[in-house]
Each structure stands twice: as C-alpha cells, then as structure tokens.
Point group: C2
Chain length 323, copies 2
Amino acid sequence: MTVTRGAGAGGVGRQLVSEPIALLGIGKIARDQHIPAIASSGAFHLAATVSRSGGIDDVENHADVADLLTARPDINVLSLCMPPVPRFDIATAALAAGKHVMLEKPPGATVSEVLKLERLARAKGVTLFATWHSREAAGVAQARAHLRDAQIKHVQIDWKEDVRRWHPGQDWIWQAGGLGVFDPGINALSIMTAIVPNPVHLTDATLSFPENRDTPIAADLSFAGPAGMTVDAAFDWRQEGPQSWNITVDTTVGQLRLTDGGATLHIDGMAQTCEGPGEYPGLYHRFAELIEAGQSDVDISPLQHVADAFMLGRRTTVAAFHD
Amino acid sequence: MTVTRGAGAGGVGRQLVSEPIALLGIGKIARDQHIPAIASSGAFHLAATVSRSGGIDDVENHADVADLLTARPDINVLSLCMPPVPRFDIATAALAAGKHVMLEKPPGATVSEVLKLERLARAKGVTLFATWHSREAAGVAQARAHLRDAQIKHVQIDWKEDVRRWHPGQDWIWQAGGLGVFDPGINALSIMTAIVPNPVHLTDATLSFPENRDTPIAADLSFAGPAGMTVDAAFDWRQEGPQSWNITVDTTVGQLRLTDGGATLHIDGMAQTCEGPGEYPGLYHRFAELIEAGQSDVDISPLQHVADAFMLGRRTTVAAFHD
C-alpha cells in the first residue's frame, strides 16, 4: 500500500509497496506482538521507533513524537503502544500533524479524550483506528455471524488469569488510570460487544481493590440487554494453574462457546474450524484497509462499560497484592 | 400546548391548552421543584403521579409506571424524578409506550443506558429531554454568550456544600450508583460544559471515600482543553457555614465569575443583570419547546466526565460519615 499525501493530510493510494510505519512505546506488547505483526505485514515496514528507554536493533529510534515528526516527515502512519495515560498527548500531536494513527487498547485513559481524538482525526481527514485485538481472535467473526439473528438469553464471561504471569512488573496497570483487571477484562468486553447484536448496559458491579493498589484485582459485572437478556462477567487476576478466557452464549436454540480468548469456537458442543491471520496481523491488515478506504474505526463501547463499572460499582477491599 | 397523536407516537401540535403531565418519583426534588414549576407552567398541568410511598393531595396517584400507562392513556408527557438507578426501566417503559420523557439529572446510573434511551426515543419518534437544571440558572446563558469567542486560560470550580443540609437522610446518594459528591458536582460540570466552547477531558482526579460509604464525599478534578487551557474543580460535601457554588473563568482579556450556582454573574468584577424564569420553570419551558419541535436534548458530557473521574481517579479513604 502506498500512502500518498492528500490535501494537508496523509492520503490514500493503491497497494503497490509497503508503507513506512513508526511504532511508539517499545514495551512488552510492542516486542511480543506489534513488531512481529509488522514484520509479517505486506502493507507496512517498521521504519522508526519512539522510546525513551531505547528502541530495537537496526531501527532508528527517536526520543519523543516531536523528534520523530521533525526527523521523518515521510512517515505517515504511526502505531501507539504506550500505556493509556500518556497516550492522548502523543496521539493528538500525531493526528494534528496529519498522520494516520492506530491505538493499542484501551484507546485512552478516559472516554472523553477518545471522543476528542475522533473529532480531531475527522477534522484532519486522517484514519484513527482504536484497536481491540481480541476482536481479531480466530473465532470471533464466525461467532458474530452466528449470533446476528439469534435470540440471546444469557452470556457468561469468565476471564481469569494470573497477573504475575501476564503483567510481570507492569506498575502502570496498578496505578490510577491503569484499569487493573479491566486491562484484560476489556478484551472480553470487546468481544462481547462485537458478537452480541444489541447494545447492553451495566446494571450491577462489584470491584475488588487490593488494599495497597489503586486499581481492582477482580470484578464481577452484570449487564442487561433487550427482552430479558443478561450478561454476567467475572474478571479475576488471582487465577493460578489453568487460565480461563471463555465466553458462553445461551440462545433460544442452542449454545455458542468461545474459549482461549476467542481463538476456539464451539457451537452446540461441536468444534468449528476457525482460521485467521492472528490477532495483531489482523489489526495491521485492518489498519491498512481503513487507510485505503479513508475511514476511521473508533468504537468506545468496551471502555464505556469499564467507566460505567467504576462509576456504578461497589468497591470492596481485599488482601494486598505484591508482585 | 396540545400534544396530538402522530403515527404511533405522541405527536406535536400547537400551543392551545396546557397538556396533562405525569410526575414519577415523589421525593424531595419533586416536592421542592417540579410540582411548583409545573403549577406555574402554562404548558403543562399535573394530571397524575407515580409513587409507592403515596402521592400528593388532590392528584391521582399510581403505584407504578405500568399502572399509569394503563389507566391514563391520555397522558403523553412524563417527567421522571426518581434516583438514577431505578430510572432506566421506567424510562424505557415510558418511551416504548410512545411517551415524551423528561429525566432529572443525572440522566442515568451509567452512560451506556442513557445512550440506549436516546436510541429508543429516536426509534419511537418521541422527545427525550435529559435535563441539567443548573444550565437554566440565570447567569448561564449570558456567560456562554460572553465566552463563545473567548480564549480561556483557566476555569476554577469550587462546589462545596453541607451534605447534611441539602441531602438529609437521602441514603441512595451514598450507595453505589448514587454518585456521592458528584450529585451536586455534576451541576457544576453541566454549567462548565455549557459555557466552555471547546470540549475538555479529565487528566487527573482524586476521590475521597468515607470509610463507611460507597460514594465519595469529596473530589478534586483537573481537565485539559485546547491551547493549554485547564479546568480545576474542587467538590466537597463537608462545607459548613457559607456554601460555595462558584465558577471563575480567566480569559486572555478578563475574568468571568458565576456564583450562587450560576444565578449571579460578574464580568471583570461588574455585576451583570441576569433574568430568567428560574431553573425548573426554565426546564419545563424547554421541554415544551422540544416536544413542539419534535426534538430531543440528550447531552451526556457531564455524566461522561463523572464516569471518567471514577475510572481514572485515585481513591483515598477518609473519616466515616454519619448523617
């Protein structure tokens, strides 16, 4: 894909050669997912990084987004992987400079700031892609298609993992704005809001805060949808042994079950064949499509449900957590 | 105003005679504000109430919204004053029955449910009015007009009152979903979002929870707007003696100051003459206008900022509060 300059903003062209992309925020998720996904992408090649703690071998690194924008005006596509709290100012600078921007999840520390980014992208005529990587899990598209005309009775979400295993030493997730167990839990909500055809709203929530932390280590949520439909979600970061990332949907005619974070799909107990490029390759493929089409994709509903849970939820204090 | 039936929904007609209205949720705010405002309204007359604890003298009362809808199909306009948590189901029933609906503030216990009500009202072709009574305070419209083209540097909000005086025995405000000090604080946010011409987003928040309560008794918020503009807000329910409901706006050319909850306006130290019908009479006047025009007015931004504050904010525990 070639991105050519439109009127004052990165424009859209045909997919001829791969487009230079800059990756900002070189932490665990960048190294584990974004760099391999970009390396395997036909649409993009990694041309620069931005990291204060150093980049990666053989790729030029800049100290901050301002340096990048000055040094590499030829790079029109930026992918932002830093934690949500510092992300807004960087995204604003990138969009204001007429760059196409992809945001890791969650797209911001607040809903209001994401709405501001969306308005800015529209004003600048560039693509903003607020990603939800779990929506690219192999079983999700088929689950959504299966449920499109279904009458759903109940959705049960169990999203239970060992925080020490998946977020070792990540202090920011325990700080205000880091979302705590909602950092993985929002992945489940991103799938639920993608496969359930009607919007739901939170009716009850209990959030469990370790006595020494600013974000919850567990949360139980209940939602209501149309015609008596309910959703219950249990998020827990204290799960040792086998890990659970499961969504079970009971309809009037049967049961659909997504396991392994959405990678595996069973319908009425029968395993379905699900194929896809993988979550992060899927995101970069979709980002290229959005730029090509001159569109944005900003669905804030998973983050909205999290904000609602913090506002409506009861708080309980549980044992201190030490990494 | 006569409301005539349109195709399947309460339609719009010319203002000839006052329209019957039902008031649902007969608590302190209904008795203090809604009933006098309806009594003084040329557009509406109070035809029925819904209250489980009994209504008011000389007005027919129904036990719940279903009874009202069955018994009085002639009433096409409903005003909902119960606390936010139970309000969604009642509002949904009313809108689904094709009634025009006015919601006390905050319009819901979650942002998502208000968005669902907005969609339902649009689908049914009826008016939904999510009210913010403080926006009808006498100085607000003039403040908004003055700031329309101003370059704002800083907004300082001080909203400090004695909860024992203004919310005596109101247990629901201390329960999850009752918002605590944000119940009055959201009034300040409703004014701020009305008079500041550009959207802002929360950047920092500290919420102080009494050790025996589920909602905060105090909150300190910071917001950012364009071009370095900042907003600081201090909400506190522990203010004895004089009460403070003040918003001070510093611009590049001077200062604007709203006091008394928006009723009094000073520009560069000069008192401005502000006249208006009063907050609740203003709301019912606007509701009649919206029905007449076939429009809705649902601005969720104040509630969005509160949800963002609960999500982003640090929590501190303070002394127990006893009523």
